[in-house]
């Protein structure tokens, strides 16, 4: 630590940082634009001028840019110096010369860094009397709105989009006063992190387009700390709501996970919670139509169903721990299914045991950013865990940081470090069947089939640790490649192996784990990260249960009278024929879900649950981080959290069914009254998740003896917002599941526990830049500690199991008659819930599903893909370097139930096949009902019976 003197006051400052950071950490208000904690300093805006004195005798000093000046011990600074103030005021006056007079119609207004900084510098009178320069704006697609006139040329957008996130389609054009930040032509921003521009841009050039359509000022939005549910990474988000609709999702800084950036899926995928596909009332089939019925009626019906015989519960990897656990408590552990197919469950179980047994580190996303050699083994992380991909992209910069350290250039000196980095070799190796977005920054890419990738992995492990089994029949080129990769990994200080279950192959994960543990014998920093598919895949795996195949078997033998399915659309997991058989075998299907799915059409009873924006719940991310999300909206009856429905169901059967397992009083769900009771019961019942109760403070948390306010103090319209319904004032809704007050009344301070921060705002910092005041040190942990509790943070103390000799798969050989069908790495569309979000649907609709085929062989422009639900006529797309015998298609978008890998036959398009329904846009693929209360019969997902003698679909193997 160094000491700097700010206007005569000594302040502690971290050495190695710059003066701007030091001033901000000392609590001083020093305006800035171009500096960003994650992007470093470039000195472009000239806003953070301060006067620095060379010593106590120096009375004149000199003006320096704080962001470009390193902290030195004993530095003497003056922020309040008259000349420095005038300098800053003049700089902002220049910036405002061309700024349009449009704050009232700007989405940034009220949370605008430029507004804050203008007020901070004291510039309040416009002296410029000449004409303003204007720019045309561009249509940048469904996510981001562009209004170039507001630009102050701080360069943050391109530095984030191009330098940080690797986007190629946003750049700076023109020169001098005319610089323009945009695309070469109008068009959708391609990068998966484009939404962050809205938060990165200090003014309103880039704004959130879906939010603009349902706009509300920041001061009116109630916030809820939440966790993204669209992949297993577990990024922290803030859900903003007003008038019972979710308006937007913002990034919520978690120093160890998502930090400053959120992918577009997480930022714009929330739309399903406002969609007409939401279920708002209990439904049951009356004359072949799902018809709303009173809740009590539904419960009575369930009581009759439960009297029929055994009840089986199916949970879901997209539902919270509380939902899954309550269902398990209702039916008993022996009758609880995780709702995953056997193949999925094998993979997730494998991932869990590998992570538990890993002797090295299980890195957080932030740890991954500092890995200096990375091997991605058979996972397109940009599609399955985009934020992880972004972290890997940062890891490539490690060599340039080392070079900078050697050259004595501070790491935050962005331009210099990037110049040095241009010479530094990347240490990222990617082995995937299909090209990925990270290929461009990888040192080597390996394009081959998943089995061969696994073989390569085992070969690398054997090179590092000869105790690992050798791989037979390795070609020399591959062996040489394995040598090179192994050498780099061994030489690295912090190597990282990333794999996952995208290709449904446990062998890949085992190969990754054997490399990581081989490295860990020499280097305890060797990390292993395994990507899982859904937001609570990890939690559900720890909880455990039957597979869907087990349920099918039970159903076939008539052991199931009633099936209670919580938030799981089985049609995405089971082939149409299996699903039909299940429906025929089980007399009663009860579905608890928040969104209408194809499955809900056939359910005898549909109960309206809450999505993540309306209830409290706990999720476990793929890195084993237990995190809690809180509701932004208090749901109106009869919609309620899924576990409350389960509890009501329990009351129906507790009296009249003796076949149920003995009830443990500790987990008796009839005693649960609020979500904390469920979590507490879960913690007691499941030792592996004992920490779940501590993931965040519970609903009894009080700051200064008050609840936490979820709205800023200046939220408007309290006495009028519902006066068109009733002019009487009503108290804000009380929610027993949160410590939030649902109003502007309550406690709020930067010192709140980080898991409970509903919005970021401090006096005179109204934009998201106020985050610096909530951190212990800029870019470090939150003042209340980073949210979440890690499960595998420390390597397990138990002696590692003797390494089971992994099944090294045989090399892949292309077949003439059939292609190996693998999932295409596609971010927008395949994910179930976000596909219902209008903005994501618009984004993915522009990109119709295609069949990707190796570019080497000529294929006709359209071909027919024969799957178990019939032939699909698809456009083909040649992909360079795709190995022979492999075809790619986007998961769930061609055939709803789609498990990879599988083999499929291709045939040229015939007129007969051309009539089969092909792709339907996700927005239409699921039922869109005219009114949430009277859902029309659910439009079936196109299901054509497998016809023709050639329709052969063979799961390639049942188990690994």
């Amino acid at each position: 630590m160094a000491t700097i003197h700010l206007d005569g006051k000594p302040c502690a400052a971290r050495s190695g940082t710059n003066l701007l950071q030091a001033c901000l950490e000392a609590g001083a208000d020093l305006p800035y634009f171009c500096w960003h904690p994650e992007l470093g300093s470039v000195g472009a805006c000239r806003q953070c001028a301060v006067r620095q004195f060379s010593g106590p005798e120096d009375k004149t000093g000199r003006i320096v840019m704080a962001c470009m000046t390193p902290v030195t011990d004993g530095a003497l600074l003056s922020i309040n110096d008259a000349e420095a103030r005038e300098f800053r005021e003049n700089v902002i006056e220049w910036m405002m010369v061309n700024h349009p007079h449009d704050c009232p119609v700007c989405e940034e207004g009220g949370e605008c860094h430029l507004q804050d900084m203008t007020a901070m510098t004291g510039h309040n009178k416009r002296r410029y009397r000449f004409t303003k320069r204007t720019h045309t704006s561009q249509n940048l697609g469904p996510f981001v709105k562009h209004e170039m006139n507001r630009c102050i040329a701080c360069y943050r957008c391109v530095r984030f989009y191009h330098d940080y996130a690797g986007g190629e389609d946003l750049a700076v054009f023109a020169s001098h006063d005319n610089v323009y930040f945009g695309r070469a032509t109008d068009g959708t921003l391609e990068n998966a992190f484009s939404g962050n521009l809205a938060e990165i841009c200090p003014t309103g050039v880039f704004t959130d387009k879906p939010f603009s359509a349902a706009y509300s000022r920041k001061w009116d939005l109630s916030g809820a700390p939440s966790v993204c549910v669209h992949c297993a990474t577990g990024c922290n988000i803030i859900v903003n709501a007003r008038q019972d609709t979710v308006r937007r999702v913002l990034n919520r800084y978690n120093g160890e996970v998502n930090r400053y950036a959120l992918c577009d899926l997480g930022r714009f995928g929330y739309g399903f919670v406002n969609a007409p596909t939401r279920i708002r009332a209990p439904l049951r089939v009356i004359s072949e139509q799902q018809t709303p019925i009173p809740a009590q009626d539904a419960l009575t019906r369930f009581a009759r169903m439960a009297a029929d015989g055994p009840v089986i519960g199916i949970g879901s990897s997209r539902a919270s721990l509380e939902t899954n656990f309550s269902l398990r408590a209702l039916v008993g552990p022996d009758r609880f299914s995780t709702g995953q197919t056997r193949q999925e469950q094998t993979c997730t179980d494998c991932a869990l045991s590998l992570l538990r047994a890993h002797p090295g580190a299980i890195p957080t996303l932030h740890d991954m950013e500092s890995a200096d050699a990375v091997l991605v083994l058979g996972e397109d992380v940009s599609a399955t865990a985009p934020r992880l991909g972004l972290a890997l992209r940062q890891s490539v910069r490690q060599p340039s940081f080392h070079a900078a350290d050697a050259a004595k250039v501070p790491r935050w000196m962005d331009a210099a470090v990037r110049t040095l980095g241009a010479e530094c070799p990347s240490a990222l190796f990617i082995a995937t069947p299909a090209p990925t977005e990270l290929d461009s920054i990888a040192r080597e890419t390996v394009r081959t089939a998943p089995d061969n990738i696994a073989r390569l992995g085992f070969a690398i492990a054997h090179r590092i640790n000869p105790a690992a089994p050798p791989v037979p029949d390795m070609p020399d080129t591959d062996a040489a490649q394995a040598d090179r990769i192994a050498a780099t990994l061994v030489a690295a200080g912090k190597p990282l192996i990333v794999s996952g279950m995208q290709y449904g192959s446990p062998a890949l994960m085992q190969a990754a784990a054997s490399i990581a543990s081989a490295l860990a014998t020499q280097n305890p920093a060797a990390g292993l990260s395994l990507v899982l598919p859904d937001c609570n895949s990890m939690g559900l795996t720890i909880l455990g249960g039957l597979t869907l195949e087990d349920v099918l078997e039970k159903a076939a033998t008539g052991e199931i009278a009633t099936l209670v399915i919580a938030e799981n659309d089985l049609s995405r997991r089971l082939d149409p024929s299996s699903l039909t058989k299940l429906k025929n075998d089980v007399p009663n299907i009860v579905l608890i879900d928040h969104t209408l799915t194809p499955l809900s059409r056939d359910a005898a009873l549909v109960l309206p649950a809450t999505p993540f924006t309306e209830c409290t719940g706990t999720l476990v991310s793929q890195e084993g981080r237990i995190q809690r999300f809180f509701p932004a909206i208090t749901p109106a009856a009869p919609v309620q959290a899924a576990w409350r429905w389960v509890r009501m169901l329990a009351e129906q059967i507790s009296t009249n069914d003796e076949t149920l397992p003995d009830r443990n009083p500790a987990t008796d769900l009839r005693t649960w009254t609020r979500v904390d009771d469920v979590t507490a019961a879960l913690s007691r019942a499941c030792p592996a998740l004992a920490e779940a109760i501590n993931a965040a403070p519970n609903a009894d948390y009080r700051a200064d003896n008050q609840k936490i306010r979820s709205e800023p103090a200046r939220a408007s319209g309290r006495t009028v917002i519902r006066s068109h319904i009733s002019v009487r004032d009503q108290p804000p809704p009380q929610n027993p599941d949160t410590p939030f007050s649902n109003s502007m009344e309550g406690a709020y301070s930067p010192d709140l526990p980080a898991a409970l921060i509903p919005f970021f705002q401090v006096p005179s910092w109204n934009s998201g830049q106020s985050l610096t005041r909530f951190q212990q040190e800029i870019g470090g942990a939150m003042r209340g500690g980073d949210p979440g509790i890690r499960l595998f943070a420390t390597p397990s103390d138990s002696p590692p199991e003797p390494p089971r000799t992994p099944d090294i798969p045989a090399a892949f050989t292309p077949r003439d008659d059939e292609m190996l069908l693998l999932p295409e790495g596609r971010l927008f569309g395949p994910e179930e819930l976000s596909a219902l979000s209008p903005s994501v649907a618009a984004r993915s609709a522009a990109d119709a599903p295609t069949l990707s085929l190796p570019a080497g062989t000529p294929y006709p422009p359209r071909m027919t893909l024969h799957l178990s639900d019939g032939p699909h006529d698809l456009a083909t797309r040649p992909v360079t370097n795709l190995p022979d015998g492999i075809a790619l298609c986007p998961p769930h978008m061609v055939m709803r139930a789609f498990a990879f890998p599988r083999t499929a036959r291709l045939s040229p398009v015939t007129s007969a096949a051309a009539v089969t329904p092909g792709y339907a846009a996700p927005g239409h693929a699921t039922p869109v009902t005219p009114s949430p209360l009277t859902p029309a019969p659910v439009t079936p997902i196109p299901v054509t019976p497998a016809s023709g003698p050639t329709a052969s679909v063979t799961p390639r193997r049942d188990r690994p």
Binding site: P104, N149, N178, S212, S716, V720
Partner: protein, 170 residues
């Protein structure tokens, strides 16, 4: 003592002064244009709604009796609904002061009593008048640098035409 007596005497003399009271329903007083009475939403000189739904009136309102929702057509912001609960309004005029477009104005009309409180909830159709109110000439969109129907980019007051990015001229 003498002061007290003097006060008594002076007060007594007021019996012979003219009364200040205006006999209101029969005799209407003159109210200046800036009197703070019933709130209206005005239109700009081109007959379009002036309100751009910036929410500043709502946030300025000390009793939180204004609520509105932004909507947009072709770049022009307008309120989808605009609601004032006059049973809460204290006629402080902060909303008018906060309004950047002169849309919300207080008028000299104060005769708005109702027997039932719900009738005091005014919606946009109750508030919107067809004139410009106190400010006949101001049109926000002529000044603001956003394009709206009828005014392309670079056509606002004090604006140059958009920059040609392909030009190499300095």
């Amino acid at each position: 003592m003498s002061g007290t007596l003097r006060t008594l005497f002076l007060t007594f003399l007021h019996a012979f002064r003219r009364r200040e009271t205006v006999q209101y329903p029969e005799e209407k007083p003159y109210l200046p244009p800036r009197y703070r009475g019933r709130i209206i939403l005005s239109r700009d000189p081109d007959g379009e709604e002036r309100c751009v739904s910036c929410n500043l009136c709502a946030v300025a309102c000390p009793v939180d009796c204004i609520s509105l929702q932004k909507a947009e057509t072709e770049g022009r912001w307008y309120p989808e609904y605009f609601r004032i609960n006059f049973s809460r309004c204290i006629f402080c005029g902060f909303c008018e002061e906060a309004c950047p477009t002169y849309a919300i104005q207080l008028t000299p009309d104060f005769e708005m009593s109702e027997y039932s409180r719900p009738n005091l909830v005014y919606e946009k159709e109750d508030l919107l008048i067809s004139g410009t109110g106190k400010y006949p000439d101001y049109n926000f969109y002529r000044v603001a640098g956003v394009p709206v129907p009828g005014k392309e980019r670079g056509e606002s007051e004090h604006e140059r035409p958009p920059v040609d990015l392909h030009s190499l001229l300095p």
